[in-house]
């Protein structure tokens, strides 16, 4: 709770959190309601500029862009959350095996991670899409595993650093068992670094989904997606900039917010980085 309060009391945390909350809300509401049917083509309403009826305008077949962007936010949220969940599971598992397990398990894990890290996420996604066909599942698996490996790599060093620290030893000397020590001292101290990685994983998955859908490897035509809309509209950028801008803006703001939120979360989680807050005892002479 302290972390959440710390996060929201500074604009650097509150603004991105607000935007992401808005996206999440849009994702939820658009499952049942959008201003108009996002897929309904209206040949008499092509390329309308922003108006009261169509605040974001209409596209080449007369679909309402606002409704489509709202409906597509659900895809984005599902993909981002699912990818991040996969990434966290894979990453924490690899990090723990690479830092806390027996020596030979650690060494095998480190080599495995170093090999896996060499494969670019987007390439893996394209390879998977080539074999299994484009789907959101492909995006989730590719980004989840790809970022999971990255989290495992960064997390291993962090867990190792924390696990060998004096305060963990002091905790053991106070009577903590191995698991208690992990829960009370190791994870809370390693968490800030992991949180940043998770937010980066979400940001990457939003971009990857948009990019892969743009390339035609991601969402199928029946699934609304910001990347797909961007790719549909992109040829007309010079002619109808106001219509084309929306999906791009949504992607940019969401990715930016995720990155900023990750940084703000790290700062909020670490009492040494909190720029303001209660100071129960000022530094005094010993």
């Amino acid at each position: 709770m302290t972390v959440l309060r710390e996060l929201l009391r500074r604009p650097r945390g509150a603004v991105p959190a607000a935007w992401l909350a808005l996206v999440a809300l849009a994702a939820l509401v658009s499952r049942w309601w959008t201003p108009q049917d996002p897929f309904r083509a209206d040949p008499y309403q092509q390329w309308q500029g922003p108006s009261v009826a169509h605040p974001f305008g209409t596209d080449a077949v007369g679909r309402d862009v606002l409704s489509y962007v709202l409906a597509a936010s659900g895809t984005t949220v599902v993909v981002a959350v699912a990818s991040a969940a996969v990434a966290v599971v894979v990453g924490v598992l690899l990090a723990a095996l690479g830092s806390l397990a027996r020596r030979w398990v650690r060494e095998v894990t480190v080599v495995l991670v170093d090999v896996l890290v060499a494969f670019p996420t987007i390439l893996v996604a394209m390879a998977l899409a080539a074999v299994f066909g484009g789907s959101l599942g492909v995006v989730v698996v590719a980004v989840g595993v790809g970022y999971g490996v990255a989290i495992g790599r960064v997390g291993r060093g962090e867990l190792r650093r924390v696990a060998t620290s004096d305060y963990v030893l002091a905790g053991r000397a106070a009577g903590l068992g191995a698991w208690g020590s992990l829960r009370r001292h190791v994870l809370p101290n390693a968490a800030p670094v992991l949180v940043v990685q998770v937010s980066l994983a979400m940001a990457t998955s939003v971009l990857a989904e948009a990019g892969l859908s743009f390339l035609g490897y991601g969402a199928s035509a029946a699934t609304p997606s910001w990347g797909r809309l961007l790719s549909d509209l992109q040829p007309f950028l010079a002619v109808h900039p106001w219509t084309v801008a929306w999906p791009g803006l949504a992607i940019t703001l969401t990715v930016l917010s995720l990155n900023l939120l990750g940084d703000a979360l790290r700062d909020a989680a670490d009492p040494r980085l909190r720029t303001s807050g209660r100071r129960p005892a000022e530094r005094t002479a010993p």
């Binding site: 620290s165 004096d166 305060y167 053991r172 000397a173 005892a281 010993p286």
Partner: protein
């Protein structure tokens, strides 16, 4: 509580780091463990706690009030640590968890060993903070370690080690990382508390001037072996081993060079 370490051998990757260490602390006794760096002082402390580095193997005997600790299952050992044996570490800058409030760290041994509920643990943490002369203990327990000075942090470390009133206190160079003036006050406090509680004490140091203030007896280690054991006054007067002579000479040199 009595501590009897007999013929303690610690090996790591085929190297013998401790080679037959004997250490006996009578109930309420205060024994110094001295030696140059790498002589095995800290390792002896860790071996008593059963917290040796990964891959290290200990043989011999470590008895606490006659009960053998070596080879005890991890669960049983965890019940001994923090409850019967309190430990103060060397560097207060790194021995406190940076993301936990000070009061929670002091109360940790109480909570772990179910000696107090949440409110009771907090009350006793405040009391322990007052006992180690921390200023404004009621609010200080809500501070984070980085908001405290080095001396204050070491007082927190001492409070944590003593909060359960352990029968044996292990102190691994608790004043080495502090500046000289802080050192003196922390040392005086430490001695007073250990004496007041009637705890037995093993005090690791390489500084004989510090040793003379807290311990009555001393064991000198060199290269993992005990090279001399004596009372502190005897050692200061007539060190027998080459290593002890060196330490005494070093202590004199620093005393004389003081303005």
């Amino acid at each position: 509580m009595t501590l009897d370490v007999t013929d303690l051998v610690v090996e790591l990757d085929g190297r013998r780091l401790l080679d037959g260490v004997d250490l006996h602390v009578p109930d309420g006794g205060r024994v110094g463990l001295v030696g140059a760096s790498g002589s095995g002082k800290s390792l002896t402390v860790l071996a008593v706690l059963g917290l040796l580095p990964e891959g290290a193997v200990a043989r011999g005997s470590v008895r606490l009030d006659g009960r053998e600790l070596l080879g005890l299952p991890e669960r049983e050992l965890a019940r001994v640590r923090g409850r019967l044996v309190g430990t103060v570490f060397q560097d207060p800058r790194s021995a406190l968890d940076p993301v936990q409030r000070v009061g929670r760290q002091i109360a940790e041994p109480l909570r772990l060993h179910r000696l107090a509920g949440r409110a009771e643990a907090r009350r006793r943490a405040v009391e322990a903070a007052r006992e180690v002369d921390l200023p404004d203990p009621g609010t200080l327990v809500d501070a984070y370690p980085h908001q405290l000075s080095g001396g204050q942090r070491q007082r927190v470390g001492i409070a944590t080690a003593l909060v359960t009133r352990p029968g044996l206190v292990l102190a691994d160079e608790p004043t080495t990382a502090l500046d000289v003036t802080t050192q003196a006050s922390v040392l005086a406090l430490f001695r007073r508390l250990v004496t007041d509680h009637g705890s037995s004490l093993v005090f690791v140091t390489h500084d004989l001037a510090v040793l003379a203030q807290v311990a009555t007896d001393v064991v000198v280690l060199a290269h993992g072996r005990v090279v001399e054991r004596a009372t502190v006054p005897d050692l200061l007067r007539s060190p027998a081993s080459a290593e002890a002579r060196e330490l005494v000479a070093a202590a004199r040199a620093t005393t004389w060079s003081a303005p």
